[in-house]
Subunit: 359 residues, 2 copies
């Protein structure tokens, strides 16, 4: 299956026709337009694009959060499968999701862009538009970066700064036995969407399956939810779901003397995943256990926090939230799954290892 | 000419043998060792490597500076010409130099690393060692990042955070007619060193030429000098020299109603550049006018600042500093060169355009 998702490529304006500084001007204009259009507050930006560094003013009493993610053509994305706009939005989501998982407020980003001959000026404008919009939807703005040419491909590395009240970041290390483990949204949806695309679905055939394909192509970060979970102190530990439900939960307990027990009956398996499982001849559970970058939040709370968490997620526009298991004193460093018949087994396969061993 | 500068490559430990998380552990250990060995203060780092984001605590009354730079194998560096240790140091220098040019204090960095099959675990450890040392020499520390696999090559993107008293960053926009233009060090040395390497020199043949080769292979950032120029208020505008003397000075005046007049007799052309020019059959001046990434500082001061600037750079371990011209009311947006016989001509060729037009 080949999609044709709107890269101008050789049909667009070659970058050499505008030059490095012409390109930077055009991208700068996109950032200004979109930031203004969305009404993003930029009071904290004291130096924007165009000096040796950018500068932002931290809010008094806050500390600065910083995260980055790189997307390399052919490895992290395929131009046949994603539009430039969606690629920009996606790298925004990946980084926003990390700030969300600390209970933080996204503020400002800088981007490194390395461009081979295959991208047109219009493609990069679309990419910047997607990125600036996604950042702007969550209150953040692009304040700088650099652009360089490479012999082929496209590399995009985004660094996002956020902030949180000093000492109030929700750490992974806050996890402890007795806590409830929660997941937002529909973990595994992205893995199912990707499997559907690979099997030849293109979207538009079926509402349920479309939702999964969209979860893969258009993931959204849970910024407001992460912030509320941090601000209220409800979340004791939090991580975002970028490697797969089990792989990410394992990060919470690795090298700790306790583990996580998931209950199969509580896993959030919706009608969509069941439909996809039938179409693809797989078990619905398999999508939750394998690698899947859903950009949902995984978090733990004290056992008495069920009502306030449920309340926090009530209301229109909020994702579903579900208690899926608990932190237990045994199974040190492991994530295990209790089946509906009470049998306990390791929850696997694992999440992504970018360099799997075994060779 | 091929150098063999110590990449283990296929003779080293393949990354798959240790896995993604094993690799991260080993790199993390390098950072801890080097940071401790250099005695770098990490009080401001509240969350280091290993959570969804890192976190640092801004100093009260300071704003946060942020810059990034990407280095792509085959484009920005060649493994035949640079050791992994020097590559790490180099990307440190590039970013430190940007913070220096704002008069700021470097604090903390995060790195995105994308690795093809051609690099061994030992290579990446050396790269991290070079990077952590260079950062540590200037008081900064590595606090996070991410690692991913790609089909070939090596990509390194570093984001560096620094800080400066609120409103005290030395901006490019501070430039105004009547100011003196200064350069530290020996601009063009890097271009000459690169030309020598291309012509078959390898270093070790001749002290003068070695100094130039070293300027290309081992550039050092002028962090202490930039900070002092900012702190004292002497520098009215500042930029680091990464594109070439003329290219970078042009960034100071582009779109402004004034220009910069350089005086040929004041250009800092030392014995080394003269020697290289003879060996290569070129004019010494040509190295100063073309692209050259020297990571020196270019800055302007009020006309009465000659004595304090000279004093600031006096003493052992300081680079030379030289008034090379002035900001003038005409030649809007341009950099011009007054020859020793009084003739004025455009100072060219230009600095780097990563996407030169004309095709």
């Amino acid at each position: 299956m080949k999609r044709s998702p709107g890269w101008s490529g050789s049909k667009g304006t070659p970058i050499a026709a505008v030059g490095e500084f012409g390109l930077i001007d055009r991208l700068h204009r996109i950032v200004e337009e979109e930031t203004a259009r969305l009404g993003v507050t930029t009071d904290s930006v004291s130096i924007g694009i165009g000096d040796d560094t950018a500068a932002i003013r931290p809010s008094p009493g806050f500390e600065t959060l910083v995260t980055c993610d790189i997307q390399v053509d052919g490895r992290h994305f395929l131009r046949e499968w994603i539009t430039p706009h969606d690629l920009g939005a996606r790298i925004g989501t990946i980084n926003l999701s990390d700030i969300a998982a600390m209970g933080g407020i996204p503020r400002a980003a800088i981007v490194s862009l390395a461009i081979g001959p295959g991208a047109a000026v219009e493609d990069l404008e679309e990419l910047y538009r997607g990125l600036t919009r996604r950042l702007g939807e969550h209150g953040a703005t692009l304040i700088g970066g650099n652009v360089s040419g490479i012999s082929e491909g496209l590399i995009l590395d985004l660094t996002l700064l956020g902030e949180v009240e000093i000492g109030r970041a929700v750490r992974r290390s806050g996890v402890a036995p007795g806590q409830i483990v929660w997941a937002t949204g529909m973990p595994g949806a992205s893995a199912a969407g990707f499997a559907l695309l690979q099997a030849g679905w293109t979207g538009g055939e079926d509402g349920d399956l479309d939702a999964l394909i969209s979860a893969y192509l258009h993931p959204v970060p849970r910024v407001a939810e992460g912030r509320r979970l941090g601000e209220t102190g409800l979340a004791r530990a939090m991580i975002d779901l970028s490697d797969g439900l089990v792989g990410d939960l394992r990060h919470l307990v690795e090298r700790r003397p306790f583990g996580i027990l998931l209950r199969a009956e509580n896993l959030p398996i919706g009608e969509e995943l069941r439909r996809a499982a039938i179409e693809l001849g797989r078990s619905p559970q398999s999508f939750l256990l394998e690698a899947s970058d859903d950009y949902e939040l995984l978090f733990t709370t004290d056992p008495d926090a069920v009502d306030p968490v449920t309340e926090l997620f009530a209301g229109p526009g909020r994702p579903p939230v579900q208690p899926i298991g608990e932190v237990v004193g045994d199974f040190a460093g492991e994530v295990v799954l209790e089946d509906v018949d009470g049998r306990i087994r390791p929850a696997s396969p694992t999440g992504w290892d970018h360099f799997p061993s075994g060779g």
